[in-house]
């Protein structure tokens, strides 16, 4: 504990709890054509895959957002409600489309598995909001804890913790 004040240590601990490990060096990352689509606009979601030869990805769309198609072969994609499953077979990119509702916001969340590497993890959530307007989530029951940790509140808390840690260290 030499040289580390208790409050700084506490903040570092807080940081480790809030920043999901998957953010750094994740084998699957997601980008959106826009995070603030207009009502009924189609959002293109691109999944970039690195180092997973044979695996699977499951994406979960926020309520109201609808799957609209994919460039992935038909026999390697499956849609059930708000969830879309993809079989990864030496793919480095999977693209799919989502139609935005008249209004609504939420996170696109995802999970990946590497069957050969025998590992798995979460894809960092991507926030979408029609016209940039935030709405209260209607149903958060499906959200795993790891995804909750990366919510805007968590990021804010982590930044605050960093600031406090820095301040505490200078005292």
């Amino acid at each position: 504990m030499i040289g580390l004040p208790a409050n700084r240590l506490f903040c570092l601990l807080l940081l480790s709890l809030f920043i999901p490990a998957v953010v750094c060096g994740a084998p699957v990352t997601r980008t959106l054509s826009t995070a603030e689509p207009g009502a009924g606009e189609v959002v293109t979601v691109s999944l970039s895959i690195d180092g997973v030869a044979l695996g699977g990805v499951v994406e979960t769309l926020p309520a109201g957002y609808a799957f609209a198609g994919t460039d992935h072969p038909d026999d390697r994609a499956l849609v059930r409600g708000q969830k879309i499953g993809f079989a990864v077979m030496n793919d480095t990119r999977i693209t799919y489309s989502v139609t935005a509702p008249a209004s609504g916001s939420g996170d696109i969340t995802g999970t990946w598995e590497d069957f050969l590497g025998e590992s798995d993890g979460e894809i960092a959530p991507s926030h979408v909001a029609v016209d940039g307007i935030e709405t209260k989530p209607e149903n958060s029951g499906e959200k795993p804890a790891a995804q909750e940790a990366a919510s805007p509140f968590a990021v804010l808390a982590a930044v605050a913790a960093l600031l406090i840690a820095g301040w505490g260290g200078r005292r």
Binding site: G55, L78, R80, V88, L116
Partner: protein
């Protein structure tokens, strides 16, 4: 009491083998024995559906990982291997829970880069070799082939067991029969991994079983580069010019004869063993006969009971003491080997098992120092430990394998 024991054994048998170990490739929907691309993709989606999307399905995570493994490494087909006992074994899944009754097979698996976490139990000798097999210290100990702990074997729920192929065959046959009768899904694989004639083939077969063909070729080439150099160099030496060698086994005045592995390695290294004839593998010789044979080189085997040298400890004095007792034997001062300072001690760790090529290199160098001037057994040994065994063992300060 007996009834309760039977009940426990019956329960262990039920739990012993993952039920699907021999049931075909997971995801092979049409059951034709081949996991086609479409079948694999369907299996993945069925798994994802059941695991994450609220659907139902039969495949669990291990199933889909095995399916992916077979699809990627075996081109979606079962892998048929012929082990060293001549049996064809069909593998539908990768090895996940391995028990080894043979330290040589265990060592070879490690040379091939097999995930040692998947070895769930080992024989008692490998268990004791904590310096060489540090990762086995905490694994289950299943005893020896002569006294196997079958209850322990079944309790670790193996899907594959490694036994010897051509030595101690009665004991290994017995273990195999008991396992196959009780748990038909267990894959029994028999390899020797200590014989120069069959080892390169065994390396490649085992590599193909675990999907490490490239590593297998690399390791076999490394092994063959040493052994081929020895074979090619000694091939041209006429019998009459071969170095006369008295090879003494662990026990005093006990030598090696035709049929023993040590005699084979002595011969490979170009040595002429005057006591090779005979039916016993390890005959006791008349001390006078050794004086009459007048060997040019004497090699004494050390390492009985793991007591002295080898990987167990850096103890050159112990090997020196063994050598000194030889020099002091009555009449030995008249032997050419003693007069010329060509009496050597070698530890069985590098001559009797999977590392026999290292010991054979030392023999060749001792028998023909000029012909093998560029052969460096010490360097071969260190490369083997560092590159293939992946253990942190510095021969400059650890272990004692030869003396002087």
């Amino acid at each position: 009491m007996k009834r309760r024991l039977l009940l426990v054994l019956a329960l262990l048998l039920l739990l012993a083998v993952p039920a699907s170990a021999a049931d075909g490739i997971p995801g092979d929907a049409d059951g034709d024995g081949v996991l086609a691309s479409g079948e694999y993709a369907s299996a993945v989606l069925a798994y994802l559906d059941a695991a994450y999307m609220g659907g139902v399905g039969d495949l669990d995570r291990t199933d889909i990982q095995d399916a992916a493994w077979v699809y990627a490494r075996w081109d979606g087909k079962p892998r048929e291997v012929v082990d060293s006992s001549g049996r064809t074994v069909t593998l539908y899944r990768p090895l996940r829970r391995v028990v080894t009754f043979s330290g040589e097979s265990l060592e070879t698996l490690r040379s091939l880069g097999f995930d040692m976490e998947k070895v769930v139990a080992v024989d008692k000798y490998s268990h004791e070799k904590s310096t060489f097999f540090p990762e086995c210290r905490d694994k289950a100990n299943v005893g020896s082939i002569w006294s196997p702990d079958m209850e322990k074997v079944l309790s670790v729920r193996p899907d594959a067991i490694f036994l010897y192929a051509t030595i101690s065959t009665a004991a290994c046959d017995d273990i195999q029969k008991r396992l196959e009768a009780s748990s038909p899904g267990i894959r029994v694989l028999r390899f020797d991994c200590f014989k120069p004639a069959t080892y390169p083939g065994e390396i490649r077969t085992m590599a193909s079983m675990i999907g490490r063909e490239e590593r297998g070729n690399e390791f076999a080439s490394f092994y063959e580069s040493t052994m081929d150099q020895i074979r090619e160099t000694t091939a041209g030496i006429p019998d009459g010019e071969k170095t006369r060698v008295y090879f003494e086994y662990w026990f005093d005045y006990t030598t090696v004869s035709a049929g023993s592995g040590y005699n084979e390695k002595t011969g490979l290294a170009g040595g002429m063993n005057p006591f090779a004839v005979g039916t016993a593998e390890y005959p006791v010789v008349d001390p006078e006969a050794i004086l009459v044979a007048d060997p040019q080189v004497v090699v004494k085997l050390a390492g009985q009971g793991l007591a002295v040298g080898g990987y167990a400890g850096h103890d050159p004095e112990a090997l020196d003491a063994i050598r000194s007792t030889l020099l002091e034997r009555p009449g030995w001062s008249r032997i050419s080997a003693v007069k010329d300072g060509r009496v050597y001690v070698i530890h069985s760790d590098i001559l009797g098992g999977a590392q026999h090529f290292i010991g054979t290199a030392y023999l060749a160098k001792w028998f023909y120092p000029d012909r093998f001037a560029d052969l460096d057994p010490h360097a071969v040994h260190q490369r083997y430990l560092t590159e293939f065994q992946g253990i942190d063992f510095d021969l400059a300060s650890q272990g004692t394998f030869v003396y002087p």
